[in-house]
Amino acid sequence: MAASSDTGVDFRTRLQNWLPKLVLSPSLAVMLIFVYGFIAFTIYISFTDSRMLPSYEWVGWQNYDRLFRIREWNIALNNLAIFSSLYIVISTIIGLMLAIFLDQKIRGEGVLRPIFLYPMALSFIVTGTAWKWFLDPAIGLENTMHLWGWTSFQFNWIKDRDMAIYTIVIAAVWQSSGFVMAMFLAGLRGIDNEILKAAQMDGASNFQLYRRIILPQLRPAFLSAFVILSHLAIKSYDLVIALTGGGPGNATALPATFMYSYTFTRNQMGIGASSAVIMLMTIAAIMVPYLYAELREKS
């Protein structure tokens, strides 16, 4: 708004021109140090032979080389692919469905909405034990079903090497689908009703109305949901620790748990850092195009 290139500016205007930048600069400085500085530090560490504490002995690509030869890392990457795709898709579907249903002038929306939303308020440090119980066949859902007479019921995924990752998906969906619902609900509430009426005049059925008219207009909400969910997926840590501790075996390890374990438990900080760099690059691969599109749109 205020063009800084113009000549003959009085003091107050000059001050007013500088104030915005002045106000923004502490945040920028803090970010440059605490985010980008630390990222640079991590990248540097990933090329050193740091073990328990940072060391500055340069070893080149050795950590990356080792990283990809470690079986657990490949399991973690594989798990991340399974986990994040299912988690994002299911959370989005459930969130969207609940939002659409809630948007049908539902009696008791005021009660239901906070119920759907509250899991986001709780950390897995709080709910982890309850989840573990619920999923544990001996005391949880399976046992309860057996007590209620459905003796053939089986739900022992958390104990099953091949299925355990799906229990992580269930808990993760439980936590964030309500938040996705809120985003979609906000999007739905923002759609102009006249468009909907016009479409109904045009003879669109409810299904067509949603598919052809409403969903396309929710594109920004889809995008936000995708970005937030994918960053939650990549950062998922306490979820796994609380539910399975990475087990059975290493079946539910994710890159975040891998990184923590190598950096802090196993005293292989160099390898931990290199896995962190790979995670960061993955996040950047998702975020940078999004940010670019988002920011270019404005100018």
Binding site: R51, M52, L53, R66, R69, I70, R71, E72, K132, D136, P137, A138, N156, I158, K159, R161, A164, T244, G245, G246, G247, P248, G249, N250, A251, Y260, S261, Y262, F264, T265, R266, N267, Q268
Partner: protein, 416 residues
């Protein structure tokens, strides 16, 4: 910007209150937060308080101390290490190598630690000949805990060999019991594995494979056999074992659902708390095949280098209190472990405790006292955890025994 000003003032006030109000103070980072342990530690706190030394408690539970170790890194990086940190095995050596630990030689000499602490323990409490940590206890991990009533019901005697051990478990399984109570967590599987390696190959093989990391030993037929024994044990474990905490596994033995549990001596506390008497309602014996050897881990308080004099005095006071026979007895009776010094009479301990103390002294004398791989007393954490990965993957059915031995060689190589 008054906010910032207020914040700074709060910071200043806080800084004052944490450093200079109490003249002498120790800050102790530990993960002993359960009722019994904390109460035992409270004895230490009160002992110190009598001597005018304050205690700032910094408990960080979880992950068998791994969270505490993370936090320790943060504290050391910040240039603000705690006075004393509960620590296991190789971590002490690593921190000493970083030059972060204080030198306790003067106190050790005065109190004659060299004589009373078993040599295998000194391997961890000292670094390049200097005392850097005060050992609190010695846990040994190659114990079997058994339900006496169940053994009687099945007509079993204490097994003397691996074959008898298997036969006993078969009998229990046939009678509809879970023969072996086990919790599916990597460290628990590794704990069992320690005993299997020792049982198959004896002290020499344990030394070669678990401590010296000789690739030939790690990939040998004996290692394959150790894994095969793990397979055998897996056959006696119920399907619901994954992720189960060890104390829940202990409860299975206590409740008579299970016959045996292979676990370190800290399990005894569970039995005692449940009102059972050692040697009477429950039995403790060495894992068949490992008799005569003791695989141990030892909780120690590593003392960090602190700068000012009063803190140093407090630190020495704490080290001295830790090593005092009173505390060693009081603490270890609660914890199920045995004192870290061998000159303490065992009268106050129960049957299992007395047995443990006697066997420790014996193993120490015979050179069959070994650090436990599962508890970080055989190798550094990276190797330890790399072994965990293979052992737990095998136990969960991802590898057969031969592949597991091959993977073990590779994993250890990558971790070094």
């Amino acid at each position: 910007m008054t906010m910032m000003k207020k914040l700074k003032m709060t910071a200043a006030v806080l800084a004052l209150s944490t450093t200079s109000v109490v003249a002498q103070e120790v800050e102790v980072l530990h993960w002993w937060t359960s009722g019994g342990e904390a109460a035992a530690l409270n004895v230490l706190r009160e002992n110190l308080a009598e001597g005018g030394v304050g205690w700032t408690d910094m408990p960080v539970a979880g992950g068998g101390g791994s969270d505490a170790m993370t936090i320790l890194r943060a504290r050391v990086s910040a240039g603000d290490p705690p006075t004393a940190v509960q620590m296991l095995g190789f971590s002490i050596q690593d921190w000493a190598a970083e030059g972060s630990l204080a030198n306790l030689n003067a106190l050790a000499e005065e109190q004659n630690w060299d004589e009373v602490v078993p040599e295998a323990l000194q391997r961890f409490s000292t670094y390049e000949g200097d005392w850097v940590a005060a050992p609190v206890n010695v846990h040994s991990v190659n114990w079997v805990w058994a339900n006496t009533a169940l053994m009687e019901e099945l007509g079993l005697e204490q097994p003397e060999s691996w074959e008898e051990f298997v036969a006993a478990m078969e009998a229990a399984q046939d009678a509809g019991y879970t023969a072996l109570a086990h919790g599916g967590q990597a460290w628990q599987e590794a704990t069992v594995f320690d005993s299997m390696v020792m049982g198959v190959g004896g002290p020499e093989f344990y030394q070669d494979s678990m401590i010296d990391l000789d690739p030939d030993a790690l990939g040998s037929d004996m290692m394959v056999e150790a894994f095969e024994r793990m397979d055998t044990l897996r056959g006696f474990v119920d399907d619901n074992f994954s992720g189960r905490d060890w104390n829940l596994a202990s409860s299975m033995v206590i409740n008579g659902e299970s016959l045996f549990q292979i676990m370190g001596d800290w399990a005894k506390g569970e039995f005692v708390n449940a009102g059972l008497t050692a040697g009477d309602e429950f039995q403790c014996f060495r894992v068949p095949g490992t008799e005569g050897t003791v695989m141990f881990n030892s909780d120690q308080f590593a003392m960090f280098e602190v700068s000012d004099d009063s803190a140093q005095e407090a630190q020495l006071a704490m080290a001295s209190a830790v090593m005092s026979p009173d505390f060693q007895v009081a603490f270890n009776m609660v914890k199920g472990s045995v004192p870290a010094r061998t000159d303490i009479p065992s009268d106050d301990f129960d049957a299992c405790g007395q047995l443990g103390m006697a066997q420790l002294a014996e193993a120490s004398a015979n050179g069959t006292l070994f650090g436990s791989m599962a508890h970080g007393h055989a190798n550094n954490p990276s190797v330890q955890n790399a072994m965990y990965d293979v052992i737990t993957a095998h136990f969960n059915g991802e590898f057969d025994a031969e592949t597991a031995a091959e993977e073990l060689v590779l994993a250890v190589e990558l971790a070094q």
